[in-house]
Symmetry: C2
Subunit: 99 residues, 2 copies
C-alpha cells in the first residue's frame, strides 16, 4: 500500500475550503480508489494522509481537473506553504487493545 502525506502551514481557511475538502475526499474515495483518509489540524499546522493501492492510483488522482483547481486554490488562498511526501507502507502495527 502507498500513502500521500500532506503537511501544510495554513494561511486562512474559509467556508469554501471546508466544502472543497469534503468534496475532494469523497471524489478520491468513490471514483479514484482512495482507501482511507485521515487529517488533523492543530493551530496553523495540518497533516493529512491518504492511502492508495498503487502509485498509478495516486498519479490518476493527481491529474483530476477538480483536484488541480483545488490545489490552485490551496496555493493562492488557504496555505502559506505545504509539503507532499509519497510513501510506501512497509509494516503496520496496531495496539492490541484497538477496535
Amino acid at each position: 500500500m502507498f500513502a500521500v502525506i500532506f503537511h501544510a502551514d495554513i494561511a486562512q481557511l474559509d467556508d469554501e475550503y471546508f466544502t472543497t475538502a469534503k468534496h475532494m475526499r469523497e471524489l478520491a474515495m468513490t471514483e479514484y480508489g482512495c482507501l482511507d483518509f485521515v487529517a488533523t489540524t492543530e493551530g496553523t499546522r495540518e497533516i493529512a494522509i491518504s492511502y492508495w493501492p498503487s502509485l498509478d492510483h495516486i498519479k490518476h488522482w493527481k491529474q483530476n481537473t477538480e483536484h488541480l483547481q483545488a490545489q490552485q486554490q490551496g496555493r493562492s488562498r488557504w496555505y502559506k506553504s505545504y509539503k507532499v511526501e509519497v510513501v510506501e507502507l512497509l509494516r503496520t502495527y496496531e495496539s492490541p487493545f484497538s477496535h
Copy 2:
C-alpha cells in the same frame, strides 16, 4: 528516508504525558538519529510522524528502555488505541512558495 506514522485515539493526556513526549522527542533526535518529528492533535486524534535515515535506526529506537516504558504508559493511560505504520519515502514535493 524512512518514517514512522503514529495514529492515536487519545484517552486522556496528563502533565506526565507532555513531559514524557518532550523527553522522548529529544532523546530520539539527539541520541538515536531521528531526523525530524511533526505532530498534530485535534480533539482525541493524534498524528505524529518521525523521520529516520534507515530501518536500523527505527529498530534501535524501538528497543530503547525509556521508550519502551513510555509506550507502556501510552497503552495503560494515555491512549484508547493506536496504530503505527513504518513507511519508506519515495518522493517529496514542496510548494514553490515555501519559506
